[in-house]
């Protein structure tokens, strides 16, 4: 019997029954720069932590930034989460310190997509596991700004209030999509957006579609194709 070509979602590049790409596998099994027992071996000047144990992902990032050159010299991290979460933090730490260290301004521009690209992709149902890396990084850089009296450089979390009654922001809608909501209805179900202020529902729908097509472009095409 000829072996079937399996969907890239569930098979590694070499056809072995591994769920992830070779790069993900390498970073998961041989993680780089992780901090043992929460004690970095270098003198850091910025630290950030995001996520929650109940959601299944939590990340902490420590940075040593050289103030003269504004480059990231050292990066350490800890992650509670699945293989994708561990691999994406590990690869992010490598991206930050390679080639003499990344400039802070450039590091602030890193998106989930950049991390995904560097990982050689993730199965679509696993993309949500890589969302915390860039957020923890931003938190750590902000902490560095505060610690080094550069308060004017602190980047505000750009979130926009959608449901004013229940205090649901566009970030919450983005998170719902990244955590598996695949339609406007599922976003509403997860975030409860609109339950407090029903007038925001058209905006919720617009944002839901925006984030779904942003993070799951292929699946979105398939749905459109069916229509």
């Amino acid at each position: 019997m000829k072996k079937l070509n399996k969907s890239p979602d569930v098979i590694s590049f070499k056809g072995t029954p591994w769920l992830y790409s070779g790069i993900v596998k390498e970073h998961f099994l041989n993680p780089k720069n992780f901090v043992i027992k929460g004690k970095p071996t270098f003198k850091w000047n910025g630290v950030g932590m995001v996520g929650s144990p109940a959601c299944g992902d939590m990340m902490k990032i420590w940075l040593l930034i050289d103030q003269k050159t504004d480059r990231i010299k050292k990066c350490g991290w800890q992650t509670f989460g699945c293989a994708s979460a561990i691999a994406s933090t590990s690869v992010l730490s490598v991206m930050l310190v390679e080639k003499g260290g990344m400039k802070v301004e450039k590091a602030l521009q890193i998106s989930q997509m950049d991390i995904l690209k560097r990982l050689g992709g993730l199965p679509s149902r696993k993309i949500h596991c890589s969302v915390l890396g860039d957020k923890a990084l931003k938190a750590a850089i902000n902490d560095y700004f505060r610690n080094t009296k550069q308060g004017s450089r602190v980047v505000a979390e750009g979130s926009r209030m959608i449901d004013k009654v229940l205090k649901i922001t566009d970030k919450d809608i983005e998170d719902a999509v990244l955590h598996g909501a695949k339609s406007f209805e599922e976003v509403v179900e997860r975030t409860k957006a609109g339950k407090g202020d029903p007038s925001c529902l058209p905006l919720v729908e617009e944002l839901a579609h925006f984030y779904i097509s942003k993070y799951f472009p292929c699946e979105n095409c398939a749905v459109k194709g069916k229509k």
Partner: protein
């Protein structure tokens, strides 16, 4: 993974026997003729056909012996899932004029749970019984839930995740007490797929009218199941197209599968007295080894009323999918109920039903031993698991506090 200082085991250590089991060589040997020369359709009126028919009838007799029922009460199907579907949808369709209420539990296998959910969409009313922190149903809650319009109660014999054994015989008595003498309703169904290797399947002692079994959990072939159907139980088929299986399950019989399944059940039930104590001893050794070498874990499921081969634990501060993938690198095959391992990204419904918080569910691990599991494998697993957990914990920024 050099820093972990462990080498993968020389062969695969299979500790996921609740998922499926390897086929027993004796089973394969019995099946072989029917995959080769004895290919006849059991419906044929010639020697090839008669021989195949005889093999199926013999298989039915073997199974009936262990169920303490008549051979004519065994319906062969394509899987345990199909048997569950047939039991639930089949009796619901045939008896809906008497009522549209069904009772089941929150911790059933999806084959039962999703079938009940489908019936809810079709206008049936379903009560999902809750369970306590050990996974046991409350018999008083069951008694209260039975209404005049209840047509079916479906409770699993033993849970596939946490291994808890439900009080089926006691539930059977309660249901019998409340049964309508004229219609014989509600019927009592149990999914016994996980129980067949270690528990008695006597349908009269259990007081069940329908019982699901399959081949793939007892060292038999995949793709074959059976449904015990007590005489005079009203049911409608799900699959039409032939007179096979007393008109309840159409389709040319899977002769080799049926023969293999019956052989497997025979071997499993015959060896309960020797195999259950052996596997229990190994299981207890594995569990106490884990408890000694890994701190901050909890054991899920009932402490005594549980399957002899099942260990289910939650390990704090780490995530199950990462753990299972690391174990696989060391040639140890295990399972987890963590949301990250599932396609739906949803944590196990069983672990939620026993009121485990999400952060604890994430670190869950199921180890189910089999008849090929050896002492050496257990020792390697204890040592390796401890090292991997220590590694993942060193990498983890959290420190959970939780007591049950």
């Amino acid at each position: 993974m050099e820093y972990l200082n462990i080498k993968p085991y020389k062969t695969r250590i299979y500790l996921d026997n609740a998922a499926t089991t390897p086929i027993d060589p004796k089973v394969l040997k019995e099946m072989e003729p029917f995959l080769k020369n004895d290919f006849g359709n059991p419906g044929g009126m010639y020697s090839y056909g008669y021989e195949a028919r005889e093999a199926i009838d013999h298989a039915r007799t073997i199974i009936a012996k262990y169920l303490n029922c008549n051979a004519g009460e065994i319906i062969f199907t394509g899987s345990g899932t199909e048997s569950d579907n047939l039991a639930i949808i089949g009796t619901a369709k045939a008896n809906q004029k008497y009522g549209k209420h069904i009772i089941t539990t929150k911790i059933e296998h999806p084959a039962v749970l999703e079938t009940c959910q489908a019936l809810e969409k079709a206008g049936f009313d379903v009560t999902y019984l809750s369970v306590d922190k050990n996974g046991l149903i409350d018999l008083k809650e069951l008694e209260k839930a039975i209404k005049p319009e209840t047509i079916l109660v479906s409770i699993m014999y033993a849970n596939n995740e946490i291994g808890t054994i439900e009080p089926i015989a006691e539930a059977g008595k309660i249901i019998a007490k409340k049964r309508n003498k004229e219609t014989g309703l509600p019927y009592f169904h149990t999914d016994a797929c996980q129980a067949a290797g270690s528990l008695s399947l006597d349908v009269n002692a259990l007081g069940v009218d329908l019982l699901t079994l399959n081949g793939s959990k007892i060292y038999g072939p995949k793709g074959v199941g059976a449904l015990y159907l007590r005489k005079n139980t009203k049911i409608e088929p799900l699959i039409y197209g032939g007179h096979q299986e007393f008109g309840i399950r159409a389709g040319t019989e899977n002769v080799a599968g049926i023969v293999g399944f019956a052989t497997a059940l025979d071997l499993a039930q015959k060896s309960i007295k020797t195999e259950v104590p052996r596997i229990k001893k190994l299981r207890d050794k594995l569990l106490s080894g884990i408890q000694k070498s890994i701190k901050k874990i909890i054991v899920n499921g009932h402490p005594t009323q549980r399957l002899p081969n099942n260990i289910h634990i939650s390990i704090f501060d780490i995530e199950g999918e990462a753990l299972v993938l690391y174990l696989d690198q060391m040639n140890i095959c295990t399972g987890t109920g963590s949301a990250c391992s599932s396609k739906m990204l949803e944590a196990s419904h069983v672990l939620r039903a026993i009121s485990l918080p999400h952060e604890i569910i994430h670190g869950s691990l199921r180890l189910t031993l089999g008849k090929n599991t050896t002492e050496k494998e257990i020792e390697y697993t204890i040592a390796t698991l401890a090292k991997i957990v220590a590694h993942l914990r060193a990498m983890s920024p959290i420190n959970l506090k939780y007591t049950r």
